[in-house]
Every structure is written in C-alpha cells, then in structure tokens.
C-alpha cells in the first residue's frame, strides 16, 4: 500500500452548512434587486466540512459567463447558474488559492477596467504612437 496516498474520509458530505448559505444568497439577491445593494461572501471565513465547498459549488452550478484574470497569479471569475451570483477564485503566482468569494452583484468590480489602468494604457498608446515611424502609423491605420 502506498503510504503517501492521501487519506480520504468516508464521511458523507453535507453537515448542513450549505443550505443556510444558499438562503443567505437568496436574501442577497433580494437586496440586489430591491435596493441595488451588492453583497460579497468570503468563503474562507466559514467552517466547511470536507466536501461541503464542492457541494456548494455543485449547488450553484455554472452559468453563461466565465472570465480568467492574469494578475499576480490566475483568477477565475464565473457566473453561476443563478444570474447575479458570481463565483470568484483567486490564486497567487505559485498557483495556490488565496481567496474564494461569492459575489452577488451585476458585474464583479474586478472585471471592470479600472481608471488607473485606463489612464496608464492611454499614455502607453500615445507614447507608442508618437514614437513610432510611418510603418507603425500605417499598421495602426489598417
């Protein structure tokens, strides 16, 4: 027998932590629709039994939209099967999870282009344009 093989518990999945969370999400959707108030839930702060996080992920399912972010490590931002309920997973440069969140919002803030980045990008584009010869201008004009 391979002693390095990870031990998996034979414990049945649900300990009852998923259902209250789904209820919390329903209330958050109420707030989003009625008062335009978004909610974010940090999953690291909840005591899940083994398998419950996966159970929650299965319960929420996958929706139409999935985005990947590459900034200080990979992140996945995915709409669940319930519009307005987003599953966010952030990893560091070593690929380790550094944060897992459920956001109940129309669009997670991190997906939007940020003013600071837009400004820096505009400056970069101007620089390239101004410092390039006719060939660049020709390319850009295509």
């Amino acid at each position: 027998m391979n002693s390095q093989k990870p031990v998996r518990s034979a414990i049945p999945y649900s300990r009852g932590n998923v259902k209250p969370l789904l209820n919390e999400i329903i209330h958050a959707l109420d707030r989003l629709l009625d008062d335009d108030e978004p909610t974010a839930i940090d999953l690291a702060s909840l005591p899940f039994a083994p398998g419950e996080l996966e159970e929650l992920e299965r319960a929420l399912g996958h929706g139409e939209l999935k985005a990947e972010l590459d900034a200080l490590g990979k992140s996945v931002i995915r709409e669940t099967a319930y519009p307005g309920v987003w599953w966010l997973e952030h990893r560091n440069t070593a690929g380790e999870i550094v944060g897992r969140y459920i956001e109940i919002t129309r669009t997670p803030e991190i997906l939007m282009s940020q003013d600071a980045d837009i400004g820096a990008g505009r400056a970069r584009l101007r620089d390239s344009f101004d410092n390039s010869g006719p060939e660049f201008n020709k390319e850009a004009g295509k």
Partner: protein
C-alpha cells in the same frame, strides 16, 4: 532617515495593474478576517503604506515558526519580503553572517529608529547566558538592545509567547517569554506550535495597512484569530452536541468523523483559527485529519497532562462538568467549555 517608497509606488514600478492590486487587497481583507466590503478602504491605506523595517530574532527555537512562515500562501513569503516589509535581519534566511549580519541589524535599527518591528521566535534562557547565543551575544542582551528603538514586538510561536517547550517542566534553561522581559513596548503574541502562517502575515499586514496593531485578548493574542475556540468553529461540533464520539482512533466513530473529545481534543479550551484558516494553503487542520487538537496556542500546553487524555480527566478542570457533557452529549457542552476556559485563565495566572 532614508526615504521609504510606498507600497503603491513599488507595485506601480513592478507593472502590477489596478486589478492585480485589488486582488491583493481582497486577499489581505480575507487574511485580516475583515469583510469584503472593507477592500476599498484597504486599497486606499495600502497604496499609501510604507514598508516597515522588520528585524526577526531567533532564540531557543526549532525553526518551525520560520518553516511555517515560508509556507504562507497569501501573500507569499517572497511577496511579503519584497513588497510589503523590509526584512532587514533574519539569521536563518539572510545570506550575511557573523559581523556583517550584526552590522545589518544595527543599520536597520538606526535608520528606522522608533518605527521598526521586532519579530521574535523562541524563548529566552535566563539560567545561563551561554545556553543560547548569537554572534557571542546572549539572547537576553540581543533582545533588550533590539527592542529599545522598536515600534512594537511580535512574539511568534508558543516559545516566544509563553515559554513553550524550553519553558516546559523542569525548564532547565530558565526559559522565559518575550512578554516576561519586554514591559515598555507593545507586545503581540502569535502562539502556536507552530503558528498558522497566515496569522503571522496577517499581523504584519494589519500593521502595514492601518499603521496599528490588532485588538488583543487577555493573553496578548489578536482577537481576529484567537477570539473563538477551535470547538466553536469546528465542523464536528454537531456530533459533540449529539453525544457522538470516537472512542479509539480506528472505531466506527473515528471512521464516521465523530467528535474527538474523548480522544483528548483540547478544542473546547483552545483559542485559534485552525478550523477556518486551516493549514497547507487551506487544505485541512488536525481535527479534519482525524487527530485531536493539542491546544498548542494556549499557555503552558506542554505541562497540562497527556495529549490523548480527555479534558475531563486532565489538569484542565475538576472533570465532572466536562465529563458529564461528553458522556451525555447534551447542550451542557457549551457551559463545560466555558468552565474549561475559566480554569485555563486560572492556570495562566498561576503559571
């Protein structure tokens, strides 16, 4: 005094986007156990934050605390060292040694007088200075000299916080904790054997973000991580309430993941964040792996009887209330845990 760049300056120079920065802030909020709604405030604070100089002193220790820190996943150690703090002295990690290392420590102290943080792992021997020295300097002398100009001191691990293994009976070196010696500076205790790496980095992140130390409990531990017992946040707690216990490590109860109270679990009287923050990048924690909590973040945990003796038979309480709750498995559990905690506080006073 040298000009220290802000974290915002550093990240901008490294080409980190605003999205990347927001992600960093979200991870920091999670690390500090703050709600995600605090992320914008953290972003504003961190952008203006200047890297604090950190001097790490290692005394009577096993290097387990440094090993723990190097496994911190959020932020990574290298991120922490290069972006968030200026780790100016750590004799296990630094390349310099001997006089050059000591010169680096003195330079960091002079350049950051009154503003640097001192992190200590290991206890300090008071029996004979020769028990533990660095570059010919006794642990006591090095500690007292270094903390003189510090903004605050963070005692990392149970040895630095409470004396730990070196201080266990019969304490042959006369080991004492940092708080036994440092009386005129704020001391934050981050106990554990070892401490959870995220908790170590969280204290640094809190100082960096808000320029202040976290709220502490009666043992000087950050409330955000030591405000609740392992038992309070344990996913096996429902079994405790139902009176379902593992009696041995291979019985039906153990296989079904029932409560480990009768196998000596110290969760009801141990304040720590293992049940939520977990270990190895959030993989699991001892109870999830089928082993009772040893209570390693509590003062004097080595001298409190057997690790596998139930609380009801150990030195923690008279036993009657705890045993009653365990055997009957009724709601008395909460009251018994409170009784255990009261005894714990008494033990600490006596120690």
């Amino acid at each position: 005094m040298k000009t220290i760049p802000t974290l915002g300056d550093i990240l901008q120079a490294q080409g980190v986007s605003r999205r990347g920065f927001m992600k960093y802030c979200a991870a920091t909020a999670s690390l500090l156990a703050l709600p995600p709604a605090m992320v914008p405030r953290i972003a504003n604070a961190l952008e203006q934050a200047r890297r604090p100089s950190v001097i790490w002193l290692s005394f009577q220790e096993c290097t387990g605390c440094t090993e723990s820190l190097t496994r911190s996943s959020s932020p990574t150690l290298e991120g922490l060292i290069f972006d968030s703090i200026s780790l100016d002295y750590h004799h296990t990690l630094q390349a310099a040694s001997g006089d050059a290392a000591e010169a680096a420590r003195h330079a960091a102290m002079e350049e950051n007088m009154g503003q640097y943080l001192v992190l200590v792992d290991g206890s300090i021997p008071m029996g004979n200075p020769g028990f533990s020295t660095i570059a010919g300097i006794s642990n006591y002398d090095m500690l007292m000299e270094t903390v003189e100009g510090a903004a605050a001191v963070v005692a990392i691990g149970s040895c630095a916080a409470f004396g730990g293994i070196p201080g266990a009976n019969p304490n042959p070196t006369g080991a004492v904790s940092v708080q036994d010696l440092v009386k005129d500076k704020p001391v934050v205790n981050v106990p554990g054997c070892p401490p959870i790496p995220m908790v170590i980095t969280a204290v640094l992140a809190q100082f960096l973000t808000f320029g202040q130390l976290p709220e502490l409990d009666i043992h000087g531990r950050p409330m955000a991580f030591f405000g609740q017992t392992i038992h309070d946040r344990c996913y096996r707690r429902p079994f405790y309430e139902q009176g379902k216990f593992a009696e041995t490590f291979d019985d039906e109860g153990a296989r079904k993941g029932w409560c480990l109270f009768k196998l000596g679990c110290k969760g009801p009287i141990t304040y720590n964040a293992c049940a939520t923050v977990k270990w190895n990048a959030g993989t699991s924690f001892p109870i999830e792996s089928g082993h009772p909590c040893l209570g390693c973040s509590e003062p004097g945990f080595w001298d409190k009887g057997g690790f596998y003796a139930p609380l009801s038979t150990g030195k923690f309480d008279s036993g009657e209330k705890l045993a009653g709750a365990a055997v009957a498995g009724v709601a008395l559990g909460a009251a018994a845990a409170v009784a255990g905690r009261r005894r714990q506080a008494k033990y600490t006073k006596e120690a």
